[in-house]
Symmetry: C2
Subunit: 187 residues, 2 copies
């Protein structure tokens, strides 16, 4: 389990997995130490602000990943339709067909909502805006594109909840497939 890590950026993915699996409150320093192989001394050296700074750093890293991998192609990519297809494929891979929780969504349902309010709002607002931009580039009206984008992002989050509660990854794939069909049907 112990890993040799010497850069703050290398710890973030491991940290993210602990927060995803146990939530903010359940991610005790003992579990974080076990998952990263870093003692408290090292952790507080990298994150002087303690657990709150660790979670904030993880959220920032997640936001950066989605911006790079998903939002940017939707907004600025040469082929909006291909960017939308890529988004659905990337979501299935990233959330492991619903086995892996969306940390931002999980934080939104827990009492971490207030503490990280800005990060949560920005994450979903950016996602909806990027997808709406792609749909507009495909000819949808601004209002229609925004509504459709909201529905898709909501469907992804709902699919994660359902798949985890039912213990069934097929429902995740099914719901994402329907969302994809609905949003690409009219363009």
């Amino acid at each position: 389990m112990a890993k040799q890590v010497s850069e703050r950026a290398d710890v973030l993915p491991l940290l993210g997995e602990v927060f995803r699996e146990h939530g903010y409150e359940g991610a005790s320093l003992a579990r974080i130490t076990a998952a990263t192989g870093l003692g408290k001394g090292s952790l507080y050296h990298f994150f002087p602000g303690g657990k709150e700074e660790m979670a904030a750093a993880v959220l920032a890293e997640i936001d950066g990943w989605f911006e790079r991998e998903i939002y940017a192609p939707l907004r600025d990519g040469a082929d909006p339709a291909a960017a939308i297809d890529h988004m659905f494929a990337a979501c299935d891979a990233y959330f492991r067909s619903g086995r892996r929780v969306c940390l931002v969504g999980a934080f939104a349902l827990a009492d971490t909502r207030d503490r990280f309010a800005v990060a949560l709002r920005d994450y979903f607002a950016a996602w909806v805006a990027a997808l709406a931009a792609a749909l507009q580039r495909l000819g949808r009206t601004e209002i229609d594109a925004h509504a459709a984008a909201e529905a898709v992002v909501g469907a992804v989050q709902g699919a994660i909840v359902l798949a985890r509660a039912l213990g069934d990854t097929a429902v995740f794939t099914r719901l994402l497939g329907e969302a994809r069909a609905a949003v690409t049907a009219l363009v």
Copy 2:
């Protein structure tokens, strides 16, 4: 804040609100005491199994409420279409347009998922099955009805996540309205 309560059933709604606001781990006995007005002695008198029994009792009460108010009319009510309309209206009221979390959905995203796995699975399975039954009674095929029911239940959960993260109840109402329109369009 302190209330005079003398029956176990009277405590459950207050308990539920504490779990909803703070999650399972965040719902400390101190907070539960503050919300219910009951000391630890009384709480362990009503719930000898401690916090786990409290949460299980809350989940059971929630399941009973949905069964009575939503599932039964969908399954057995005289007017399936009216039962579906009632479901959407009841959801908007129950979840306060996304201000109030679905405890079952929140538990599914947290590490409470394994501990209460059966209750979570049953809640969503019953919801999907009841809605699918209503749609079948309206003439949809079994497969089509089941898929549509999954999409609606997922949309409700996704709408809660989005509304809470964006701090915007309008998105909840909007998404539920679209889900309702989509599911009632073809019947």
